[in-house]
């Protein structure tokens, strides 16, 4: 059965800290791995990773995929209270139309 596992499930840090969120997967016909940020409602897209070893970066956020280890990390540097959210990892695979398989998410709380 395809699965995506995220760790830790929750994390509390202080502003300015750097955090690393982990995602591992076992998915047939892997196509891509996506990271989303979920604040109140809809997941909002952060990154899509398809190639191993190539870092994607957006401001203080960055992510990299390791296809050999079947995993990805999401780094957030100099965290701010606005980074508080649930971070979802999803993998497109299995089905022919790239249906996403989600992990349970990591709940990040950034305290001032």
């Amino acid at each position: 059965e395809d699965k995506v596992v995220q760790s830790p499930l929750s994390l509390v840090v202080h502003e300015g800290d750097t955090v690393t969120l982990n995602c591992s997967y076992e998915v047939t016909n892997f196509r891509s791995l996506l990271w989303y940020k979920q604040e109140k409602k809809a997941p909002t897209f952060l990154f899509m990773l398809t190639s191993s070893g190539i870092e994607k970066k957006s401001g203080r956020l960055s992510s990299i995929l390791d296809k050999k280890e079947l995993s990805s990390i999401l780094n957030i540097t100099a965290t701010q209270t606005g980074d508080s959210a649930i971070y979802l990892c999803a993998v497109a695979g299995g089905g022919s139309q790239g249906n996403l398989i989600f992990g349970k998410g990591t709940k990040l709380s950034v305290k001032p």
Partner: protein, 110 residues
């Protein structure tokens, strides 16, 4: 910036009633999806839709569920006879290279 929209934002219904959740995907996208998220649980795939037909569905998507693209813009999810366990947030998504999600409809079945 184009976005996926969904209506209504909240729906309360009695068990056994039919509900229709509506979505307007991003206009040049060709693949459409419904997901659901039961409170406190992970987002789960329900169904994908391409070229006016279902391309894939999960085991959650049983005979009580149906999807339709009645016109060129709307994409609907119908639940024929709602059950208590259908209470969840339902997300629509559309896809070019990346899946973009709508804001969701929170369905509460009493």
């Amino acid at each position: 910036e184009p976005e996926v929209t969904q209506t209504p934002s909240h729906q309360v219904t009695q068990m056994g009633q039919e509900v229709i959740l509506r979505c307007v995907p991003i206009s040049n996208h060709l693949y459409f999806y419904w997901y659901r998220q039961i409170l406190g649980q992970k987002v789960e795939f329900l169904v994908s839709f391409y070229n006016n037909e279902i391309s894939e569905k999960s085991e959650i998507f049983d005979d009580q569920f149906s999807v339709e693209r009645p016109d060129g813009s709307n994409f609907t999810l119908k639940i024929r006879s709602t059950k208590l366990e259908d209470s969840a947030m339902y997300f629509c998504a559309s896809n070019a290279e990346t899946q973009y999600f709508g804001p969701g409809t929170r369905l509460l079945v009493l």
